[in-house]
């Protein structure tokens, strides 16, 4: 079984290589036979990967523990569901899953585009095959999922990590992988267009749908990750700016930018170099994301481990991809020149350009900040942390800017907007925003970031509602129906545009959810049975603790009664579960009371079974469910936008569905403003021992508790306010004889902080104290702004300003260029055939 699997992978490798060679040779020699054979080989790879997948899943299901991968991620008592999905539970299997998905998508892409884009197909096959070859090579050379134990075949496996045994683990990776892998197809088409020189809009048509599909699944994967973190991991937040989280989010930005800026290329034939570059960057970032997760080049809780050999292979492949693809872009620059120029900054083209710039900058910033600790350690030898405080500072304003753009974009006219134009378009949305801001301020909501967010949400809603209503009115005028029918007709006719607007509404709801976290309330408290704690409108009373067992795990549960506004409102059962064979890694079971207005979130931090006392972290998260609801809206909008165009009976030959990519929403802030809360609360308690929680006594202490991070090495640098680990400090002696702490838990660190506060030290003195005790800036959430670290703070600014200047220069140069004569029909010479014109009008009418 295992050898069959290995040979299948080798066969796939050979078939891939052949497919690439045959397709290219067939194209160059104009030999249909070779080309067809190459296409057949491409399908063969899909078949082989399906076969290999079937083998490994069968191995899991039948419990073939001679295969190391199966032994590592499964055992006899594991539920069938998790046995099957362990396919992608570990590194080796996940790479095979990647190749499997890629082969399936590749086959679909080739099959559907055979006729439409014949000239591109050979190089599409070649590009996809090369990517597959790379991943297959990794598997064959070092990460073979079919590797076996030569002796000592285990009778039972070790079992999947219990943290991974939940439904989210099952859908989050495939969704994320689909999102990333599907991006290879647009890249392949882009490369094919570059290589063959067919740089008109046809390659765009082929890929817009794929990009939209990829974008959606990436968003889904990220949202599922957020929900998972929120519900299962128990730290109270949904985005920790962990390196692997960031890596997954990186491709999202250029994808969003691309989905918007294609519209400019279609309408005005501009931003052509941008578009092709965005596709390349998005693809390279997916490679980078997968590299970051697998090679351990940044410290993260998500990563599979450290692997320098793999890092080298990925590094080489990514570099080669960048060189070859951008090399071709430079080579084809003459063909890619824009046919029009930017005439006014108050135009939709300009808005999209700014959108591109902001999104790309965000991606770059996140990449830089994520890699900075590694960079810094390599250069200065000092370990630092770039955590939520650093990201917060930057991403919040960027997120708000993007939200503003979401509202402004649809209001601007193409080419240039006149003042009258602006007045007419901006009046209603601006009124909404100002009204909302005033009302909220009047009602006493004074958190300025949240307030601004609410006002901007109102602005965007104003814009979208205006678009819908005015569009319906226009359509009613044209078709003569009533307003409601007109509105429905509007959406079905312009699915891309109105699907996009629905997506934007989803974004607004998500932003609403983020803004709510500005009003989060939390308390950490030790309760005996019968005692209660008040948080916001809720009162939570601890009744008792219990222990139960269901065969697979032992469950320690607390029983709580909840009162809202004085009335009894149900019960909550937070707990800790100890799985068999994983007793040292208990899972935290969060107790959640979900309502649209807020969530009541309780975690059992620590407890003492003997006297039934327990420490709880009780949090009230206002508006958080709007995030998930907003994503559902986003899905709905994507569905609308992806619907195929209906065919026209008269055109009997297949007019395949237009690549209806939607004006995808600027969902950047899903990730960015996730940190508006900034108060991440991971619960990482010890088993059965009560801990002193060190609730902050002064403002400065609270502030620093949210800035300093835990250095236990087991948690992803949670802030001291959030982490609950009680690792004892490990002292080491440095080369110059000083005593330094190598690792310590947050409990101990909070104690240190309390000491310093009580001694009356200032902020800077406390930070210096920590730097001295730990021998580096690692406990600080963000590096101090001096020395090499100044680079961290400065570099993004520099790049940002540099880009701004660059864009400004380009724009000025463009506007000074002579009006280029656009290629195509020159109306002066054309004799307009009346019959042809009549037919044209006829067909336009038939279009609905």
């Amino acid at each position: 079984m295992a050898t069959l699997g290995t040979y299948t992978l080798v066969a796939a490798f050979i078939a891939c290589a052949y497919a690439a060679a045959a397709a290219v040779a067939g194209h160059r020699r104009r030999s249909t036979r070779l080309l067809e054979s190459g296409i057949g080989a491409f399908y063969l790879v899909t078949a082989l990967m399906t076969f290999a997948s079937a083998i490994i899943v069968r191995a899991f299901v039948t419990g073939d523990y001679s295969i190391r991968y199966v032994d590592r991620y499964s055992d006899a008592v594991q539920p069938l569901f998790y046995k099957v999905t362990s396919y992608w539970g570990g590194l080796d299997g996940s790479i095979m899953f990647w190749v499997f998905l890629l082969s399936v998508f590749g086959a679909i892409a080739v099959k559907t585009n055979r006729e439409r884009h014949r000239e591109l197909i050979p190089y599409v096959i070649a590009t996809v095959s090369v990517v597959q070859l790379f991943f297959l090579m990794i598997m064959i050379v070092s990460k073979n999922p079919f590797a076996t134990y030569l002796i000592d075949t285990p009778v039972d496996g070790r079992g999947l990590n219990p943290l991974l045994q939940n439904p989210y683990m099952v859908i989050h990776p495939p969704s994320l992988y689909t999102g990333m892998v599907a991006m290879t197809i647009p890249f392949a088409f882009a490369m094919a267009a570059l290589i063959t020189g067919h740089l008109d809009d046809s390659w765009l048509r082929a890929v817009r749908r794929w990009t939209m599909f990829s974008w959606f699944f990436l968003s889904l994967g990220l949202t599922l990750g957020m929900i998972w973190a929120y519900e299962e991991l128990g730290w109270g937040g949904w985005w920790g700016w962990d390196p692997v989280e960031n890596a997954g989010a990186l491709p999202w930005f250029p994808m969003t930018a691309f989905l918007h800026s294609v519209m400019v290329q279609e309408r005005r034939n501009m931003l052509r170099v941008w578009n092709i570059s965005l596709v390349i960057i998005a693809f390279v970032l997916t490679l980078f994301a997968t590299a970051m997760t697998r090679t351990g080049i940044v410290q993260s809780v998500h990563s599979f481990g450290e692997d320098p050999q793999l890092a080298l292979m990925f590094g080489i492949f990514i570099s080669l991809t960048l060189i070859v693809s951008f090399g071709y872009v430079i080579y084809r620059l003459p063909l890619l020149r824009a046919r029009n120029e930017l005439e006014s900054w108050v135009s939709r083209e300009a808005a999209f350009l700014v959108n591109n710039w902001i999104l790309l900058f965000s991606a770059f910033f996140i990449l830089f900040a994520t890699m900075f600790p590694t960079l810094s350690e390599a250069v200065t030898g000092q370990r630092i942390t770039v955590g939520p405080p650093f990201f917060n500072k930057w991403m919040v304003p960027i997120g708000l800017m993007l939200l503003l753009l979401t509202g402004i974009g649809p209001l601007l006219a193409w080419r240039k907007s006149t003042i009258a134009n602006l007045r007419q378009q901006f009046l209603w949305p601006t009124t909404c925003a100002v009204l909302t801001a005033t009302v909220l301020y009047g009602l006493g909501f004074h958190v300025w970031v949240s307030g601004m967010c609410f006002a901007l949400c109102a602005f965007v809603v104003g814009t979208i509602s205006q678009e819908f209503v005015r569009g319906a009115v226009v359509r009613r005028g044209v078709t003569g129906s009533d307003l409601l029918t007109a509105m429905i007709g509007l959406v079905t006719r312009s699915r891309r545009r109105y699907g996009g607007y629905v997506i934007h509404v989803g974004i607004v709801l998500i932003m609403l959810g983020f803004a709510g976290s500005g009003y989060k309330q939390t308390a950490q408290v030790l309760l005996n049975p019968g005692e209660q704690v008040e948080v916001g409108r809720f009162v939570v009373r601890h009744d008792r603790l219990s222990i139960t067992d269901d065969g697979a795990k032992e469950m320690h549960t607390a029983h709580l009664t909840v009162f809202k506004d004085g009335q009894e409102a149900g019960q909550l059962f937070p707990g800790r579960w100890y799985y068999r064979k994983h007793e040292t890694e208990p899972t935290t079971e969060v107790a959640l009371r979900r309502r649209l207005s807020e969530d009541l979130y309780v975690v059992l931090a620590a407890y003492d079974m003997a006297d039934q006392s327990a420490s709880f972290q009780v949090t009230v998260n206002p508006l958080v469910n709007w995030i998930w609801f907003g994503f559902a809206m986003l899905t709905f909008g994507t569905g609308i936008a992806l619907l195929p165009e209906s065919r026209f009976a008269f055109l009997a030959s297949k007019s395949p569905p237009e690549s209806v990519g939607a004006t995808s929403g600027v969902s950047t802030t899903i990730l960015i403003l996730a940190v508006m809360s900034g108060l991440s609360n991971p619960i990482y308690a010890q088993q059965g021992v009560n801990v002193e929680s060190y609730t902050a006594t002064t403002g400065l202490e609270a502030e620093l508790q949210n800035e300093l991070v835990c250095v236990c090495g087991d948690c992803p640098h949670y802030t001291l306010a959030a982490c609950r680990c009680a690792l004892a400090p490990q002292w080491i002696t440095t080369s110059d004889g000083r005593q330094e702490i190598a690792r310590a838990g947050s409990e101990f660190m909070r104690g240190q902080l309390r000491e310093q506060i009580e001694l009356g030290r200032s902020r800077r003195e406390i930070l210096d104290y920590f730097i001295e005790s730990y021998g580096s800036q690692e406990p600080l959430g963000a590096p101090l702004d001096e020395g090499f670290n100044r680079f961290a703070w400065l570099f993004p600014y520099l790049v940002g300003v540099g880009c701004l200047i660059g864009v400004g220069v380009v724009a000025v140069r463009w506007s000074r260029r002579d009006l280029a004569t656009v290629g195509g029909a020159s109306s002066s010479l054309e004799v307009v055939d009346a019959e042809l014109d009549a037919r044209l009008d006829d067909e336009l009418r038939n279009l609905d």
Binding site: S37, A47, T50, T62, T418, E467, G824
Partner: protein, 194 residues
């Protein structure tokens, strides 16, 4: 009603190559189940799936190797001036859609009148170009369908009732009887001089 006499399929039988592989897969799966006799449902399902995947592999090999030895795969793709008809059709639809979208944007105030005239003009020229390209032999697509319909009806001996005669501007070849355009000098079917 469709039957093999008037079917325009080039293959004479309705048995395709991939049927063979599906059959092989089914047979193989049955044999495998009988030999292995799996006890659990999941195991059984996966065995069947694995064998099915195996037959898919067989088909893949066939599909990869056969084109090198047979011309069956060089499908007759209808081309019009270097691009496929399908591609041209699509582009035409897209250009028409773009025109409509532009009109809508003008109605919504997102495009000024001048810009509308300029951009719309370009789009309309392109659409006209495409319409011209799509007309084959000076005949519109509709005419092509009518002609084929006539031929098929003639084949099964039916008189075309109520179908327009081909326009009188045609000339008929003396040797083979095919209709040709009025300005043709040689018959397009048999090559005889007109």
């Amino acid at each position: 009603m469709m039957s093999s006499e008037i079917s325009t399929d080039t293959t004479s039988s309705s048995f395709r190559a991939w049927h063979c592989f599906v059959l092989a897969g089914l047979v193989g799966a049955t044999v495998a189940v009988v030999i292995v006799q799996p006890t659990e449902t999941a195991s059984l399902v996966l065995l069947v799936l694995a064998v099915g995947a195996g037959s898919y592999v067989g088909f893949g090999i066939y599909r990869a190797v056969l084109p090198l030895f047979s011309t069956k795969f060089s499908a007759r793709i209808e081309t019009v001036g270097g691009r496929t008809r399908a591609a041209l059709d699509r582009e035409k639809t897209l250009v028409l859609r773009a025109i409509k979208e532009l009109e809508f944007d003008r109605a919504m105030g997102k495009v000024s009148e001048d810009d509308f005239a300029a951009m719309g003009g370009k789009l309309r020229s392109r659409a006209r170009e495409l319409l011209k390209q799509l007309d084959v032999d000076g005949m519109t697509y509709r005419d092509l369908i009518e002609r084929e319909l006539l031929e098929r009806l003639g084949l099964i001996g039916l008189e075309p009732a109520g179908i327009q005669e081909a326009p009188a501007r045609r000339q008929v070849c003396g040797s083979c009887g095919t209709g040709n355009e009025e300005d043709a000098q040689f018959c397009k079917s048999c090559g005889a001089g007109l």
